[in-house]
Point group: C2
Chain length 382, copies 2
């Protein structure tokens, strides 16, 4: 096989796409900064047990493993940045109050997430540690929406769910964990008859509640139906009240509810959201509350956050118009050097024609040219 063939689901990012990704990256980080989120850069490699502590089997399978020659210990190539940021909050910063952190860097997966997915997403995310209230949930969701607006992601829809609804019903069902897993699968497939069969021995209100979940999706009125039909467990009521408050505070985006949505159920502990636009099939950003995330590092703190893949986002949004360049001749005159330096200082791209290449068409699109007229260098349209 040729030396230049890349592995499957691994690709180079070429100039116009790379520029687009870099611009989006800056817009996202700038939005997080102006919300007061501090940037951190966790390493690509960590000891396997810190990368995977408490994160579940799915992340383990997604993580490349390596031997550290210095220590002989196993290391992992990060497949998700969130556990690293939780570690930083828990140990390195170790603050008492609210901590807002953001990050942007590559993660690597052993297998692609889908038929066209890259194994090397560029993950951007933001997180609040130390606040258990819905206000923190709302701030994260609002930041996610504003970040997507900053890159002109178009009309947005927020799907809301809450991990506590299913968890409370399963907790009250008395079913063993293995059977709960089967209910999870049936819920994910919205398979009502499977749920009915699985909950045959469960107290009736709970069994009915689990069966009703598969129909509890749609617009905001789903929350009223849920209150009326689900058993009045405190966690269920708290979750529904929280979603109602959140939904009422979302501005400029359509809101939908799906109480049987279980994506990431092993991870989230409260409200969760996915943000969609018309230009992409998959969610552009996902987030929610995962209060347990720091506990393996000895410091359980409330946590809420979101993340997205900048590469996928770049495919879903239009690039900014290309910044056109000025072509300048080669030459040693100080006046030419000064004219070029001045244009570059003004933010212009100035491409110098190297000797012997005067007649080439520039790959970098030049719409203007620096030419000498009398004693002065002036920019003229090409």
């Amino acid at each position: 096989m040729s030396a230049w063939v890349l592995p499957d689901h691994i690709a180079d990012v070429l100039p116009s796409e790379a520029r687009h990704i870099e611009e989006i990256r800056r817009d996202l980080l700038d939005m997080a900064r102006c919300y007061g989120y501090e940037l951190v850069m966790p390493p690509l490699l960590e000891h396997l047990e810190s990368l995977l502590s408490g994160t579940g089997e799915a992340l383990d399978l997604q993580t490349f493993k390596l031997v550290d020659q210095l220590s002989g210990r196993m290391m992992g190539l990060r497949a998700d940045t969130t556990p690293q940021v939780a570690r930083i909050d828990a140990h390195l910063l170790n603050r008492r109050g609210v901590t807002r952190l953001c990050y942007c860097g590559p993660v690597v997966h052993t297998r692609p997430g889908g038929p066209h997915a890259t194994r090397e997403p560029l993950q951007f995310g933001a997180e609040i540690y130390g606040h258990a209230g819905v206000e923190a949930d709302l701030e994260i969701l609002t930041l996610a929406l504003d970040a997507l607006r900053a890159v002109n992601a178009g009309a947005l829809t927020v799907d809301l769910a809450d991990a506590r609804v299913v968890n409370a019903l399963l907790g009250a069902s008395g079913m063993p964990a293995s059977q709960c897993e089967l209910v999870h699968v049936a819920l994910a497939e919205k398979d009502g008859s499977a749920i009915q069969a699985l909950t045959a021995g469960v107290p009736l209100p709970i069994a009915q509640g689990l069966q009703q979940l598969v129909d509890l999706y749609g617009d905001i009125s789903v929350l009223d139906r849920a209150l009326a039909t689900l058993p009045a467990l405190p966690e269920v009521q708290e979750a529904i009240g929280g979603l109602r408050w959140l939904a009422g505070h979302i501005e400029g985006a359509r809101v939908s509810i799906d109480l049987s949505d279980l994506r990431g159920y092993a991870y989230y502990t409260g409200a969760r959201f996915s943000i969609f636009s018309r230009s992409a099939n998959d969610a552009l950003a996902r987030g929610g509350r995962y209060d347990e995330v720091g506990s393996v590092f000895g410091r359980k703190r409330p946590a809420v956050g979101f993340s997205l893949d900048v590469k996928a986002l770049a495919e879903a949004v239009e690039p900014k118009p290309l910044h056109l360049a000025v072509r300048a001749p080669w030459g040693e005159a100080p006046s030419l050097r000064e004219a070029i330096a001045k244009l570059r200082k003004q933010g212009e791209t100035v491409v110098r024609v190297l000797p012997g290449h005067e007649n080439e068409v520039d790959e970098f699109q030049c719409d203007r040219e620096l030419v000498q007229i009398a004693d002065r260098w002036v920019v003229k349209a090409v």
Copy 2:
């Protein structure tokens, strides 16, 4: 061992340092863009044979190896971005004329380069493909100097060398490769008596030339001494002429010459440079000509470039003053939301105090506060 201990020579980058690195990263990329260098983002993982083709044993030892589950083939985690960019020039862009490319991303090393070095540098670099002239060497060197000036790296010194001088002398010596290796070692140690012993059977002018190399370092006058004392081989004369031209065109930096400097001799094929500042022991940036770099990808093109580690550079330059923030209260009034949105749009960082945390000192430094006076929200000093 605790789950939060990182491997040796691997570290988290915490907020103030991360901000500093991100600012430098943007300044470097912006400088490359205004010179007309197009950004590319090669992947972290590639098949081992494409990552290591023609790059020598040193890079092989520095490269982490992984098995690709999808194909069963060996992959490497990139330890250097240059061979990847050469591959992109050779195959993906495949242009006839001059191509200018730049990149910025992490590389990973199995072992640290020094007692305090990170195993995860953030490599920034720029390269010109398709131009064999000294003008391209000068453009790359000038860009490297301007990039370092853009981040206020202080007074700079350029060390110039040329791989052709030693190579031409060794080529003319008739010595076998194994003996040439020993001369390389002796030159690196500036060990004149070892060179004398090794070159005992070599034609006298060549042997004397190799012996003289160890003294051929210092200011620009070294080039005159070299012309007078080294054998008049065409490659040696071309190299010295090129260095003289380059040295004469460097502005605003001290120039020194070291003709016995062999760093990267397996890699460079012509003039090479290292740029130093007073604030760092090691070079801030290194570069030069390596015309062979694309040949393993079936397309040998002239190539000249430079690279640097953004993390090391961040340690050597002062961070910009911290952008101070505005503290804003929690509240649901539309006028408050609008006031906050307006400040953020102006580029201000506005940190909202979450309920229950009103009395906390913000970790994000706030020098101003958004307060309501009569019906209006105004920014006041804290």
